[in-house]
């Protein structure tokens, strides 16, 4: 029990630390404080990942109403990923937020969100998950509406409305699961009481579908994806980076928990709900890419791209087999790395030049070569060009689909590749026009606009990761294999 208290560390440290950050007006002290908090959280998250499985009852009302933390393989995965990316983005934000103002507010909420995400990763039952999930929604709204413009506030409300509606749908599912599950505590392979479930399959499928659509809202799945392209562009770049790269993955985590740790893959496999969800995920993959292709505002384009890319993950999960699951979790990591990279690069461009429209970015590679080089690696990885990271996840996703689902699997793989083509269509021209503006381009007004190392170093680290994780995915695949072995 005493040993389990350590689970509270990564949750409480940023939550309490974040409260203190609100009071720190001096930029230098704030930087040191935020760095210390974030790095300590990262250290504690990595540290407890080496501990054996632990659990901690915080509060119990009886029955399934309990706040309960538990550390398992899936949680370790989420904890390390989130805290790692969070740290990198924090360093970028020190420089970037200087031109947005109200930094203490931003960093206060930014730090606290990390604590909530840690709690989400450690949540041991559905109620705890739901609680942290709603808290996450509420605490990220200030990040979206940070600049206070009318547009930002409207976007913030849209985000809030969609998210709470989605979470509400999921909450309805909670009541059903309470009845049909032996416990709403997460257990690998599911806790569904098969005797009670017998005869009520269709009801349970419908409940699952509803919960998936509800949690899918955060992950940007059709039909509740519309908040994403509204909320991401108005938020400051570091906020949109983590919203896109990490917060969407919170939806993915919830989907994994409900599907594999409550319902169980065996029960759901082959159901009509599964087919429906696969189709929804594929439709999202295509629609997101298509709209990104037609979009001219860079950050909005990246937001649409997130809609598409996170649904790659969902497609892999809804395949309900080991290969697809591996592909999905690989895609979680790769997309988190790459989308943060791309949003931060977009942020660096805005910070230095104020340009937001992709058509203005001709010759940008001559002004900020390091940033655009990083962007190029991110783009290649997102498309899935070998040997970068995106290729490996795509390989697993497609194999997971083709190996078991016949025509649907083949169509799925084809949709993934069409979307990859569109991804190339909306990302590569930025790079090529940035580096090859043409012979008649006027070089005279160009000046070196490379941002400081607070920005370039996180970008470079992410770019290196985007390639290295693709060349040497072995360790990661092995770890994910450990998770999926328990589930299938």
């Amino acid at each position: 029990m005493f040993k389990s208290i350590v689970l509270l560390l990564p949750v409480l440290l940023p939550l309490l630390g974040g409260l203190a950050v609100f009071r720190l007006r001096d930029a230098k002290i704030r930087r040191i404080a935020v760095s210390a908090i974030v790095l300590c959280t990262l250290a504690s998250a990595v540290g407890i990942s080496f501990l054996p499985d632990l659990s901690l009852h915080i509060w119990e009302l009886g029955g399934s109403i309990a706040i309960y933390l538990r550390l398992d393989a899936m949680g370790r995965f989420f904890l390390c990923l989130v805290s790692g990316i969070w740290t990198l983005v924090a360093f970028f934000a020190y420089e970037y937020m200087r031109h947005e103002g109200k930094e203490e507010r931003f960093f206060g909420f930014y730090t606290m969100t990390l604590g909530i995400l840690m709690g989400l990763g450690l949540a041991g039952n559905l109620l705890t998950l739901y609680m942290f999930y709603e808290m996450m929604t509420l605490i990220t709204v200030p990040l979206v509406i940070h600049n206070g413009s009318r547009e930002a506030v409207a976007a913030g409300f849209k985000y809030l409305g969609y998210s709470t509606f989605g979470a509400g749908l999921a909450l309805i599912g909670f009541f059903f699961l309470n009845k049909y599950c032996t416990a709403t505590t997460f257990a690998a392979g599911g806790t569904l009481d098969l005797r009670l479930a017998a005869g009520n399959e269709n009801l349970l499928f419908a409940v699952w579908l509803m919960m998936m659509i509800g949690f899918g809202c955060k992950a940007g799945m059709l039909p509740l994806q519309a908040w994403l392209p509204t909320a991401h562009p108005v938020a400051p770049a570091p906020a949109s980076a983590v919203l896109s790269g990490i917060i969407t993955k919170a939806g993915v985590l919830a989907i994994i928990r409900v599907t594999f740790y409550l319902f169980g893959a065996d029960f759901l496999r082959g159901s009509w709900a599964q087919t429906t969800l696969l189709c929804l995920a594929l439709a999202t993959v295509f629609a997101g890419s298509m709209l990104a292709y037609k979009e001219k505002i860079l950050k909005k384009r990246l937001a649409y791209s997130t809609v598409s890319q996170v649904s790659y993950v969902l497609f892999g999960l809804f395949l309900l087999n080991g290969v697809g699951f591996t592909g999905a979790l690989l895609q979680v990591v790769f997309h988190a790395v790459v989308k943060n990279l791309l949003f931060l690069a977009a942020g660096a461009i805005i910070y230095k030049t104020g340009k937001t429209d992709v058509r203005e970015l001709v010759g940008i590679g001559k002004e900020m070569p390091v940033v655009i080089w990083c962007f190029a690696f991110g783009a290649l990885s997102l498309i899935g060009i070998p040997p970068t990271a995106g290729f490996v996840s795509k390989w697993y996703l497609a194999q997971g689909g083709i190996s078991e689902y016949g025509a649907l699997g083949i169509v799925g793989a084809a949709v993934l590749l069409v979307s990859a083509l569109l991804t190339a269509g909306y990302l590569l021209p930025i790079v090529t026009r940035g580096f090859f503006p043409g012979r008649d381009f006027d070089y005279a007004p160009l000046e070196k606009k490379e941002p400081s190392c607070y920005m370039t170093v996180p970008l470079a680290i992410l770019a290196v990761l985007a390639v290295l994780l693709g060349v040497f995915p072995g360790g990661l695949t092995q770890f994910i294999g450990g998770i999926s072995a328990a589930l299938f």
Binding site: Q225, A226, K294, I385, P386, F391, R439, F441, V471, P473
Partner: protein, 647 residues
């Protein structure tokens, strides 16, 4: 040791690329020496590989599935060719790039592409092939865009599009093939695919894989990017594009044709038809073109068609595929050497004369015997004149067609195959005609009003490359049994070819006949079509070359672009509708129900003061009437009734 050498050959040029880039920011000449040193070491390393026959290497877990490398006869030969071509194009690069910008960038991607191309030719499984193929595609994109002229930008866009599209379609095929065959090892594919039951899916997989590789090779109907990209790229790069990169595409085609569909007559038929169309179309386009590099690019396309005919014949001939196998391999080697020479000459011409238009550079080559010698060697080589190497490979290809005609004739009816034979000979004639057109224009005709300049026009390394490769063509042609037969013998196992029962009598009368027919057709075409139809007198009464190819006849402008744009429009429309559904429902609900409460109104003049207005704001779709309330009530009743009925 052998395994280490394999990975060294792939990674060393890539490391050299980065080192060269960093060096180049300080000293240009140091960079030039470094790049040259890298290519020389690469060539020596590849030669060293000859001492480790059958070297192989497995890297488990790298890039997901793991990479395997292997060097056997054919792969070794292709890697040698690659390293040699790279070195020989680097030698003349210095003078070509002397007055051009961004050499640093070019060298970076030149060496990156060298490493990835070695990766393709040394790969032991299709997964590895594909990974390096994609890397090569992207690295070589920078060559095409290098000059940054509007044409280069335009051409590079097509190049990138077809590169990405081809890569993804191929990937789809690789997905399917891995699912069907359970392995991607090149050595194991033949057996694994023979036992696949779902043939239709296998054909789909093969077709998808073919798409990407054939696009890189320039096969019809995916050739459209080729003439423009080859023309836009710097000449040393074009030499590599044509000599090696197109062969990387052919390598993929061979993997599919000789691995997945080994001795499959239907597949052979498909490749044959596409090959014949490519061969003829390329030749016709070459005949019409009046730009030196463009003609050569079209010629590349046409020669790729010849090679594809050989690949197709392998499938059709089944167990008797020796001649086709030998012809395919040898024509690949020949074409690489020939195009290397020709594009380097084009580079020399462009550097000194400043143009590639035949009317502009007319007679520029007069009094430059070394250049003329190189060009002539290559021209007669590609034209298939006896005594030069091109004759050997074309004869073998021709013989394989004749052999199949005999097979068909024995079973009655070989008419269509005779047509293929004639098309083959005609295409050979056209090759001669457009090469004659180039030679006469550049080296024979006089441009009115221009003086011959006697200054130095190319540096020693360039001259050396021209002489060495030119003589190689002649030596290969003269001593075919000791040189070319040996090369083909070493390579045949990769293609699954049997050994020849007896050496081919290349200079027998029947074999010479084919060449003579082509020669006659070529002469006729040159004097009738080129001199009469494709030239006219201008105002000064001088006969000039005119481009009579209709400008609308461009597959890309006519079909592909409108098709892609149409698809994008439909896709975007549907996506927009689907993505907006939730927003529309919310808007509808807003308008239906949020109309009753009077709204807070803030007068514009006073931000602090707000008041309720007397009237509801007008934002509903229906005005506030009794009918509206009734409508909502009615909707509720209907919903309830429906629910009760359905219960």
């Amino acid at each position: 040791m052998g395994g280490f050498l394999l990975i060294f050959l792939v990674l060393f040029p890539m490391a050299g690329a980065v080192a060269g880039y960093l060096t180049g920011r300080r000293s240009k000449s140091a960079r030039d020496w470094l790049v040259l040193a890298v290519t020389v070491i690469e060539l020596l390393g590849t030669l060293l590989l000859l001492y480790f026959p059958g070297a192989s290497l497995r890297l488990d877990g790298v890039c997901g599935l793991g990479l395997t490398f292997q060097a056997d006869g054919f792969r070794l030969m292709m890697s040698l060719l690659t390293a040699a071509v790279w070195m020989m194009t680097t030698l003349p690069s210095r003078s070509y790039f002397a007055h051009r910008r961004n050499r640093n960038r070019y060298d970076l991607f030149l060496l990156l592409a060298l490493g990835s191309t070695m990766g393709i030719f040394l790969s032991g499984d299709l997964y590895t092939t594909f990974i390096f193929f994609e890397m090569m595609s992207f690295a070589s994109y920078v060559w095409v865009v290098q000059e940054e002229t509007p044409e280069a930008i335009n051409a590079s866009r097509s190049y990138l599009t077809i590169g990405v599209l081809g890569g993804l379609v191929t990937l789809m095929g690789v997905f399917l093939l891995y699912h069907l065959a359970g392995t991607l090892q090149l050595d194991a594919l033949r057996e694994a695919c023979a036992s696949v039951e779902d043939r239709r899916l296998l054909y789909a997989a093969g077709g998808c894989i073919l798409f990407g590789f054939a696009a890189k090779a320039g096969m019809f109907p995916l050739h459209f990017w080729m003439p423009r990209s080859y023309t836009a790229a710097p000449a040393p790069a074009t030499a590599i594009l044509s000599a090696v990169l197109s062969k990387a595409g052919i390598f993929g085609v061979l993997v599919v044709s000789c691995g997945v569909f080994y001795r499959d007559a239907d597949w052979g038929m498909l490749i044959l038809i596409l090959g014949v169309v490519t061969m003829l179309l390329g030749a016709v386009l070459g005949l019409f073109s009046i730009n030196l590099k463009r003609t050569l690019a079209c010629s590349s396309m046409s020669q790729i068609g010849f090679i594809l005919v050989g690949v197709g014949m392998q499938g059709l001939l089944g167990a008797h595929n020796q001649l086709a196998v030998y012809g395919t391999v040898l024509h690949m080697v020949n074409h690489s050497l020939i195009k290397l020479i020709l594009f380097i000459i084009a580079g020399v011409v462009f550097t000194k004369a400043g143009s590639l238009d035949l009317n502009e550079i007319r007679g520029w080559g007069r009094g430059k015997p070394l250049l003329a010698f190189g060009f002539l060697m290559a021209a007669v080589g590609v034209g298939g004149i006896p005594l030069w190497s091109g004759y050997i490979s074309k004869t073998l290809l021709h013989e394989s067609i004749v052999e199949y005609i005999e097979v068909l004739a024995a079973n009655g009816g070989a008419g269509w195959m005779r047509a293929v034979e004639w098309l083959f000979l005609i295409a050979g004639g056209m090759t001669l005609a457009y090469m004659a057109k180039l030679f006469v224009a550049v080296f024979v005709e006089k441009k009115p009003g221009s003086k011959e300049e006697k200054s130095s026009y190319m540096d020693r390394p360039t001259a050396a490359v021209l002489v060495v490769s030119g003589l190689a063509l002649l030596v290969f042609g003269l001593f075919a049994h000791n040189t070319m037969d040996k090369i083909a013998d070493a390579s045949r196992s990769f293609l699954g070819g049997e050994a020849l029962e007896h050496a081919v009598q290349y200079f027998s009368w029947t074999n010479l006949q084919g060449a003579l027919i082509s020669l006659a057709i070529g002469a006729a075409l040159y004097f009738v079509v080129v001199r009469l139809l494709l030239m006219k007198k201008d105002e000064q009464g001088v006969r000039v070359y005119v481009d009579r190819w209709p400008s609308w006849a461009d597959l890309e402008k006519l079909v592909y672009r409108p098709l892609l744009q149409g698809l994008a429009f439909v896709g975007a429309f549907c996506s927009r509708v689907v993505a907006s559904l939730a927003d529309w429902i919310i808007a509808l609900v807003n308008r239906l129900f949020y109309k009753k409460a009077p709204q807070t109104v803030t007068p514009k003049t006073d931000e602090q003061f707000g008041a309720y207005s007397d009237q509801p704001l007008h934002r509903g779709i229906v005005g506030e009437t009794l009918a509206y309330e009734l409508l909502l009530y009615g909707a509720g009743v209907v919903a309830t009734l429906l629910y009760l009925l359905l219960q």
